[in-house]
C-alpha cells in the first residue's frame, strides 16, 4: 500500500486533489481510497486529505499517520502545524513553492529524506498561467507523477477530465503537464 497525505488550505482544492489522485489510480486498475480530514472546512483554514493506493481492496479506515508521500499545497503551513508528522524516511515530499528548501527554512526537517525524493514546484504560478486561478492541486498531481512514478501523467490527465470536463479541465491538464515536465527536468 502507498499512502499520500495532502496538506493545504480551504479553497486550494486539497480534497479534490486527493479524489482525482484516487481516480487516476483506479484508471490504472489499482484500488484506491480518498477521503478528507473532515474538518468544518472554510476558505483559508488548514485542510488535510488522504489517498491510499494498493493492489488489493483497501479496508483500512484510519487517517494516514505514516505517509509514503506528502504533498504540501501551501508552504505557510510549516509555521502552523506539524506537516511532517509520521513521514517515512523513504518517503516523498512535494512542496508547492517557487522557493528552495533552504529558503523555506525547513532543511532540518527534511534532512533524513532522500534528496531525489524531495521536490519543489511552483504549482500556483502554473495554475495562474494555465487555469487563471490559484488552484495548485492538478499541477501538483502532475509533479507527483513525475517524482514518484506511482501514477502516470496520462492517468492524471484522464482523472482531471473526469472531475472537470471542458475548458477548466484543459487548463488543469496543461498545468499538470507543465509541472510534470518541470520536475522531470530537475
Amino acid at each position: 500500500m502507498f499512502q499520500i497525505r495532502i496538506h493545504g488550505r480551504g479553497g486550494q482544492g486539497v480534497v479534490s486533489g486527493a479524489e482525482m489522485l484516487s481516480v487516476a489510480a483506479f484508471l490504472e486498475d489499482r484500488h484506491a481510497q480518498a477521503f478528507p480530514s473532515f474538518g468544518s472546512e472554510r476558505m483559508g483554514a488548514p485542510v488535510v486529505a488522504f489517498c491510499r493506493i494498493d493492489d488489493k481492496e483497501i479496508r483500512l479506515r484510519e487517517p494516514i499517520l505514516e505517509p509514503d508521500a506528502l504533498i504540501v499545497q501551501d508552504p505557510t503551513l510549516f509555521q502552523a502545524i506539524d506537516v511532517f508528522a509520521g513521514l517515512r524516511d523513504d518517503g516523498y515530499l512535494l512542496i508547492n513553492t517557487g522557493r528552495t528548501i533552504e529558503e523555506l527554512g525547513i532543511g532540518d526537517a527534511v534532512d533524513h529524506l532522500q534528496a531525489d525524493r524531495v521536490c519543489t514546484v511552483p504549482a500556483t504560478e502554473l495554475a495562474l498561467k494555465y487555469v487563471k486561478r490559484p488552484v495548485p492541486n492538478a499541477a501538483l498531481l502532475g509533479a507527483f507523477a513525475a517524482i514518484s512514478g506511482r501514477i502516470t501523467l496520462d492517468a492524471v490527465k484522464k482523472a482531471i477530465t473526469e472531475k472537470f470536463p471542458g475548458k477548466v479541465g484543459e487548463g488543469n491538464i496543461a498545468a499538470a503537464s507543465a509541472a510534470y515536465e518541470a520536475v522531470k527536468a530537475n
Binding site: V23, F38, G39, A45, L65
Partner: protein, 417 residues
C-alpha cells in the same frame, strides 16, 4: 459498472435505480451530497417519474414522505444527527402507520457540544422507534443495502433506515460497483402498497386506538420485526443471485470459525479491525469479528450461533447511553445472557475520533488477556477528564465542561489530523 466515486454519489445513484417516486429532503452534513446528487438526477432527467420536494425542515421531510408513501408512492428521504431528532415524532408515526419509506442516516454525533463528525448516536436514538435499522460496513454495502432496503420495506410494510458512517463512508472515494438498471428492475418490482389513500376509494389510515387494543397493535409491530429476521436474509440471498455479491443479511462474520475472542461491532470500523485481526491471527491469536448488519430487528439467534463457541466477546460501539454505558453492548448482553462467556463493552470513535490500528491492537490484546473493565472508553484522556472533575468539585462557578476542556488541551482540534 465499476466506478471510482464518492460514497454519497454512489448511494444517490443506487437510490435512483430503485425508481423512487417522491424524494423529500432537507440538507444536513454529512448527508447533503446524497440528496444533492438525487436532486441533480431528477433535474437532469435521468430519474424520471419522480417528484423532488425541497422542504423546510427534517420534520417536514419525513412528514411529506409519510403522506406520499400513504398515497402509494415509493418514497425516500435522508438525514443525520440533529435532523433525526427534529423528525422524531414523524419517525415513530412512519413505522406505526406501516409505511415502507427508506431513509438514509449519514451517521453523525448529536450535540451539545456541537460536533459534525461521525458516531452512531443519532440513529441509535431511534433504535426503538419501530423501523428496521441496517448498518453498512463499506460503500459497496451502502449501495447494495439501499437496493435491498426498498424490497424489505415494501415486502413487510415497515420503514427501513439505512445507516452509513458519516464522512468515513459518505465522503470517501472508493471503487464501487454500481448496478445496472435492468438488474435492479429484475430484483425490485414496482411498489404495490398494502394500503393507499385514494379519493376514488376512500379509506382512513391512522386510527386512534385505546386501551382495549393498543397492546395488540404494538405486539403486531414487534411480530412484524420478528418476521423480518427471516425476510432480511432471504432478500440478501435473492440479491446475491442477481448481483453476485454477499451484501446485507443479519450479520457478517470474519474469521470467527475457531475464534476464542470475538469482536462484535457495526458499521465501517470493521475494515480497520479486519487488518488488526489478520495481524493477530498471523501471530497465532484466535480472534474474529461479527458485524451486526441488522440492529432492528436484533439478530439474537444468529449472533448466538456465531459466537457460541467463543470464550469472550468484545463489543465495540460508537455510541453511549449516558448513565448506563453501551447501547449495543446492552443488546448483545441480553441476546447472550444464557451463553457462558465474558463480555466487555467498549465505547470508542465518539464525535469523529479516529479508531486506529494502534488503539485496536492495545484494546484487543487487553481483551484477550481478560484485562478490560466491563465498560471501557477507548483512548479516553484520563488526565484531561480528571482535571475537569477536580475543577468542578473545588471551584466556585467552574464553568461549562466543553469550553474548559478545550482551553485545557489548548487547541481547537478541527484541522488537526
Amino acid at each position: 459498472m465499476l466506478q471510482q466515486t464518492e460514497g454519497s454519489h454512489a448511494v444517490a445513484e443506487a437510490v435512483a435505480l430503485c425508481r423512487p417516486e417522491v424524494i423529500c429532503a432537507y440538507p444536513i452534513t454529512p448527508q447533503t451530497h446524497i440528496v444533492e446528487g438525487l436532486g441533480e438526477l431528477v433535474k437532469g432527467g435521468q430519474l424520471e417519474n419522480c417528484e423532488y420536494i425541497n422542504v423546510e425542515s427534517e420534520f417536514a421531510a419525513l412528514s411529506v414522505a409519510i403522506g406520499s408513501s400513504a398515497a402509494g408512492a415509493r418514497s425516500y428521504t435522508a438525514t443525520a444527527s440533529q435532523g433525526i431528532l427534529y423528525m422524531a415524532e414523524a419517525v415513530y408515526n412512519a413505522s406505526g402507520l406501516g409505511l415502507p419509506i427508506v431513509m438514509t442516516v449519514g451517521n453523525r454525533a448529536i450535540g451539545a457540544p456541537i460536533n459534525i463528525w461521525n458516531d452512531q448516536t443519532d440513529s441509535m436514538s431511534m433504535r426503538d422507534a419501530g423501523w428496521i435499522q441496517l448498518y453498512c460496513e463499506s460503500n459497496q454495502q451502502a449501495v447494495d443495502v439501499h437496493i435491498q432496503a426498498f424490497k424489505i420495506a415494501e415486502a413487510i410494510s415497515l420503514p427501513v433506515m439505512v445507516c452509513m458512517d458519516g464522512f468515513i463512508l459518505t465522503h470517501c472515494y472508493d471503487r464501487i460497483d454500481v448496478p445496472e438498471q435492468a438488474q435492479v428492475d429484475q430484483f425490485l418490482p414496482p411498489f404495490e402498497p398494502r394500503q393507499a389513500l385514494d379519493p376514488a376509494d376512500p379509506v382512513s389510515i391512522g386510527a386512534m386506538v385505546g386501551p382495549e387494543a393498543f397492546t395488540e397493535v404494538r405486539y403486531l409491530a414487534h411480530h412484524k420485526q420478528m418476521e423480518a429476521l427471516e425476510l432480511i436474509p432471504k432478500v440478501a440471498e435473492e440479491f446475491k443471485e442477481i448481483f453476485g455479491r454477499d451484501s446485507g443479511g443479519l450479520i457478517g462474520e470474519y474469521r470467527t470459525e475457531d475464534a476464542e475472542t470475538i469482536v462484535v461491532t457495526l458499521g465501517s470500523v470493521i475494515g480497520t479491525m479486519q487488518e488488526v485481526i489478520d495481524e493477530m491471527r498471523d501471530a497465532g491469536e484466535k480472534i474474529g469479528a461479527v458485524t451486526l448488519r441488522s440492529f432492528r430487528p436484533f439478530p439474537s439467534a444468529a449472533l448466538r450461533a456465531a459466537v457460541g463457541h467463543a470464550k469472550r466477546v468484545i463489543i465495540f460501539e460508537k455510541c453511549l447511553a449516558v448513565g448506563i454505558g453501551g447501547i449495543v453492548s446492552n443488546n448483545v448482553r441480553m441476546a447472550l445472557s444464557e451463553n457462558d462467556l465474558a463480555t466487555y463493552s467498549v465505547i470508542g470513535g465518539l464525535g469523529g475520533r479516529p479508531v486506529t490500528r494502534d488503539s485496536l491492537r492495545r484494546l484487543f490484546k487487553a481483551g484477550v488477556a481478560d484485562e478490560l473493565d466491563p465498560t471501557h472508553f477507548l483512548d479516553l484522556q484520563h488526565d484531561v477528564v480528571n482535571r475537569q472533575i477536580e475543577r468542578s468539585s473545588t471551584g466556585h462557578r467552574p464553568g461549562p465542561d466543553a469550553e474548559n476542556i478545550l482551553r485545557d488541551i489548548g487547541i481547537v482540534a478541527a484541522a488537526k489530523i
